[in-house]
């Protein structure tokens, strides 16, 4: 963003002048009071706060605090029981779920097996058009209720046994299915939700560690005020007097509020301040790796990138990118070079899989591979490679240009960045398969599992398979991994599948995400979770 970059230049110049004249005024007006809620940066939720229709980070952060599913994830991404007392299975396909006793929603209504089954059925049914409906795809009967135009309301795989027990039948064995249950889409809903979803989405009633401070606590585009839910007795109990999400339109503005102590926690330091935040904030910052990555995908429907020569070219491209240099120079170590397709914080991550040398910077080998490809079929110069990105958010331009320059210098081919003005335009081209070159892609984990980084992106026909990769062997390896009888055995099979990706490179992994956050002088105990979101409940005021 141009605005943001200028602010940095201006900021640096000013810091210098003002530091000399020693007129620091921040901190004086900081009201330190342990009874006040902490103020954190947020983004206006794009949808009503219903767990199954929340598919972006703005709403996700709020929904995660006011709803609790069967399990939640601790800081390391390990599942811990919330509403569940036990989740049992013998064949990884049929699960019996028993709920803990005495759990209630904040309106006093008990959390029952029915609360879960109704919520999941609602989320999956096509007629309700819930954005996260695909999360229920493994459950038997999903295909019928989610088909276009279907009027069905209930998935056949869900059965209520009694008040505290229900069973789930999946359409195939999936050993990592229980791992997914901490994702917000799997939250239960109270009966009142079904009476009027519109009103409920505006003033949700949940069962999580926090609740709305009052009716109408969501002041649109301004803030959402949450207070602790006293009835909550799970592992994420609030250590503060509340969390207020203050909505910001851009990160630079939030950063100004942070350094003047008007904001307590900033979860992402804006690119414009990445070079100076460690100085500005003394020791009140952290860098914490999380389960997300950045990749570029090259579609197989492009002539140059298909077949054996296409594979060699993909490898050449990958080896011509100096990941180490870009992560150090451009991101100030705010990313770490990728060695495979998932993320290091996940159980089963392996940084030295066979084929990972394809992700190492090796310009000589890259040129050789490119020449080998030329020998098979010459590169069609009339369609030079482009890397498409959206220019409206996310600040992708800087790194795309760096990658482009690297490819130009190391392979001596014509490459350029291709900005799209909006995210919608970029995505429409990807879904309609009308891309004319590579596209910037990436994944933030929904739940801590290797499969989450592989299945939805590279399985044949998967929703986010932008490169249109089709490899039956890979699909089979994924199925084997899902059917494995333990998460460990599953991870091993997933890594076998990854070896095929490392060879074929349907997408080219670039780097893993690292959360760079900061906090004010008025709070303590700031830690970030496995998914790059601060553990809001643990933050204390001082």
């Amino acid at each position: 963003m141009r605005l943001a970059r200028i602010s940095k230049v201006v900021g640096v110049a000013l810091t210098a002048t003002l530091a000399l004249s020693a007129c620091g005024g921040s901190g004086e007006d900081a009201a330190s009071n342990t009874d006040r809620p902490i103020v954190v940066d947020g983004v206006e939720p794009q949808n009503p706060l219903i767990p199954t229709s929340t598919n972006e980070v703005g709403g996700g952060a709020v929904v995660d605090l006011i709803f609790s599913g069967l399990v939640s994830y601790d800081a390391d991404g390990v599942s811990q029981n919330e509403m569940a007392e036990s989740i049992e299975t013998e064949d990884a396909q049929n699960y019996t779920i028993t709920l803990a006793e005495g759990k209630t929603f904040t309106n006093g209504e008990p959390v029952t097996a029915q609360s879960f089954v109704d919520a999941w059925n609602y989320g999956a049914a096509a007629k309700n058009a819930q954005l996260s409906s695909y999360f229920f795809e493994s459950i038997e009967g999903y295909d019928e209720v989610s088909a276009e135009g279907s009027e069905l309301e209930e998935m056949s795989g869900l059965t209520v046994v009694d008040e505290r027990t229900f069973t789930v039948a999946l359409s195939q064995p999936e050993s990592d299915w229980p791992l997914r249950l901490g994702y917000s889409a799997f939250s239960p809903l109270p009966e009142v939700a079904f009476e009027d979803f519109e009103a409920f989405g505006e003033n949700p009633i949940g069962n999580g560690p926090y609740k709305f401070a009052a009716e109408g606590a969501w002041e649109h585009n301004q803030q959402i005020a949450l207070v602790p839910n006293e009835d909550y007795d799970g592992p994420q109990a609030a250590q503060n007097a509340g969390v207020t999400f203050k909505m910001y339109q851009n990160g630079s503005t939030a950063y100004q509020d942070l350094i003047s102590d008007n904001l307590d926690v900033l979860k992402t330091v804006p690119t414009s301040d990445v070079q100076n935040f460690k100085n500005d904030l003394d020791d009140r910052w952290l860098e914490s790796p999380y389960a997300g990555n950045q990749t570029i995908s090259i579609p197989y429907y492009l002539e140059n990138w298909d077949g054996e020569d296409g594979k060699l070219r993909r490898q050449a491209i990958s080896m011509a990118i100096d990941r180490e240099e870009i992560t150090t120079v451009i991101f100030n170590n705010g990313r770490t070079p990728a060695t495979e397709f998932t993320a290091p914080v996940l159980e089963g991550y392996n940084d030295s899989l066979p084929g990972s040398e394809n992700l190492e910077f090796n310009p000589e080998r890259a040129v050789e591979l490119w020449e080998e490809a030329e020998a098979i079929e010459p590169y069609d110069d009339s369609e030079p490679l482009t890397i498409a990105y959206n220019a409206d958010a996310g600040d992708h331009r800087t790194w795309v240009e760096a990658v482009v320059n690297g490819l130009k210098n190391n392979l001596d081919i014509e490459v350029s960045g291709l900005p799209f003005s909006t995210f919608a335009e970029l995505r429409t081209n990807a879904t309609d398969k009308t891309l004319t070159g590579a596209i910037r892609t990436g994944w933030q984990a929904d739940y801590p599992s290797l499969y989450n980084f592989l299945g939805p992106i590279h399985a044949t026909g998967a929703g986010s398979n932008d490169s249109v990769y089709e490899n039956p062997e890979f699909d089979q390896a994924l199925s084997d991994g899902l059917a494995a009888d333990s998460v460990e055995a599953g991870a091993e099979a997933m890594n076998k599948a990854q070896e095929m990706l490392l060879e074929d490179l349907p997408s080219i992994p670039l780097w893993y995400q690292v959360a760079q956050g900061g906090w004010s002088q008025n709070v303590d105990n700031v830690e970030f979770g496995w998914n790059g979101v601060p553990l809001y409940n643990a933050i204390t005021t001082k």
């Binding site: 096509a126 585009n221 503005t253 008007n262 429409t428 879904t431 933030q444």
Partner: protein, 308 residues
Amino acid sequence: MSWYIIRRVLQLIPVFIGATLLVYFLVFSLPGDPTAAICGERGCTPAVEAALREQYNLDQPFWVQYFLFIKGVLTFDLGVNFAGREIATIIAEVFPTTARLAIMALVFEAVFGILFGLIAGLRKGKIFDSTILVVSLVVIAVPIFVLGFLMQFIVGVKLGWASPTVSGAAPFNELILPAVVLGLVSFAYVLRLTRTSIIENVNADYVRTATAKGLSRRRVVTVHILRNSMIPVITFLGADLGALMGGAIVTEGIFNVNGVGNTLYRAVLNGEAPVVVAIVTVLILIFCIANLVVDLLYAWLDPRIRYA
């Protein structure tokens, strides 16, 4: 006079139809499927996408969509945005904030612009005049976001005189800083317009006559010189109100003001045609009315101008 006003108000009708049609068409023609923005990075299932298209009439051809929107406007139902919120509520939320900001900016630029312009014009070529000319040139030359970040950093962060951002309710005192930033460039223009106009009029015949009649210097300056010099300035201020209301995107972004500019910007990115058109329509009405008021002011400022 009243006929003139009625005629001008009636002219708003074709302006309304033309503007909504044009803006709706422009948003409709934006590349990219709006459902892609709703579905986000992950995408939705085709069934969900189809349901969303039906819900927001995105599956209809342009004329049907436009007709449904106009029908809604005439029945006082602007519909909902993609987040399911009433567009009327959104407008009621953001317009008062931006109106307050714009009026504060307008008052700032009018008061200081005219005052400084008057002094500079009367003392042409003196030290005050030369200084203010250079300063206003700098203000005009430096982009507004640089000025914005600069003021935010100095006044808000380093000196701590004001909050660097505006809170939800957007109270008067928090809006002072953004209003100054917003009005700064226009302030420079108002100043220069006033100065030039004053210099022109100082040597006019009627000023000489007034002075010869023995009127006090004060009366000559305020009633004769200043009042007659106001026509170009008022024209500029009238047009500027519209620009300040709709064009505060940058300033609102820097100071995190929940106003019209940002709402419009987000709606354009999301391809939410009804939101864009509704907001733009209100802006057009404000613009037209402001211009009507300006035209009526001409007659008051300069007795030679008459409307019949």
